[in-house]
Point group: C2
Chain length 212, copies 2
């Protein structure tokens, strides 16, 4: 029987990919190389999905009007979020650059079609949320496929999902999972931006593991 | 400025990893090599998370009692699911092997701690579901890290999440995202099991892409 094995060198380089993946908020404005977005989407299509339902829907947002509406939603939600912080935490929040919406050449909305027939309902009767989780795994896969090609991805969640689905005029039952900025990053880094800015460091992973 | 680039050979091999990742339901019962689970979890900790909140919680289920309760939940939910199909579809459903709970040496429950302070709420005010999506990206990362090491992962969603959280006695606000079977697979394949069994093929990705 055919057996596909991966070498130690590949495993080490894969861990480097995980280490150098970043949530990018500072993009160069130039377009990415032709064909790269298609390659990344082809990779993302290989992500796991409940019942092989492939519930992800990719909407590239090229027109000015929906891009402006999404940027306006971000500005509004971000101003609201700032009001929820006090003192030093508020001052720090105000200095964070939390989206690259104005610079990134590509905006990609990723939605879930939860009522899709594909998969014939398998695996999602008791946990329907696995449809949206499947979309999140596709985003995760896209992200790594992008970074491997030198392309940065930033996930913008400071948005009202209703604003976004209205701006995109997608079918009413599609749910926004992620709004992604995509382009070449201004810089590479192996430390999360929120850690560099002093907002939130990674914490000790042993506290998140237990055995029963 | 340091720039971490990945070579063409690595990108090709990474795409092979995506192609040979499978949702495994047929496991060899032998334990996996010592240290491998820790390596996989260390990799998964590098997954993206909203506000760097790292909301994933890993619970390895070693004891017989909770394992039996989870297996019983699967049997019950699977029998219920079968009742929802008719005719040929029902006959086909009945032949599918949908979990490796009885064979896989490792059971790993992956939960979300949605009220965690880590991240100081950043990015999740308008889209709190991004906490669970972050956990799904960690599962996706773990899955690839496992497959790179020759270890198979199967995501079992035919479960009542309340049964599982009760069996594990986790804090009441933790939500089950994924229940994973982990071990060496009986066989490798580059075609989804549900496609091989005729349940659901992958479909044309162009229908899932649009531009606005």
């Amino acid at each position: 029987m055919h057996r596909k094995a991966f070498e130690t060198d590949f495993i080490a380089e894969f861990d480097e990919l995980l280490r150098w993946r970043r949530d990018v908020r500072r993009f160069r404005t130039e377009p990415i190389e032709p064909g790269l977005l298609d390659e990344m989407l082809d990779s993302a299509e290989l992500a796991p999905s409940v019942g092989n339902s492939q519930p992800w829907r990719w909407v590239e947002v090229r027109s000015t009007a929906p891009r402006e509406k999404v940027a306006a939603s971000f500005e509004r939600c971000n101003a609201e979020a700032l009001k929820g912080y006090r003192g030093d935490r508020a001052r720090r929040y105000a200095t964070l650059k939390l989206s690259g919406l104005r610079d990134a050449p590509i905006h990609l909305a990723v939605l879930c079609s939860p009522d899709s027939e594909q998969g014939h309902g398998l695996g999602r009767r008791t946990m329907p949320q696995t449809m949206e989780y499947s979309v999140a795994t596709a985003v995760s896969t896209l992200w790594l496929a992008a970074r491997a090609r030198g392309v940065g991805v930033g996930w913008v969640s400071i948005l009202d999902p209703d604003d976004v689905t209205a701006a995109l005029a997608v079918p009413h039952d599609w749910a926004l999972v992620a709004y992604l900025c995509i382009g070449y990053p201004e810089a590479d880094d192996d430390v999360p931006a929120l850690q560099r800015s002093g907002w939130q460091t990674r914490t000790d992973s042993r506290e998140r593991r237990s055995v029963v």
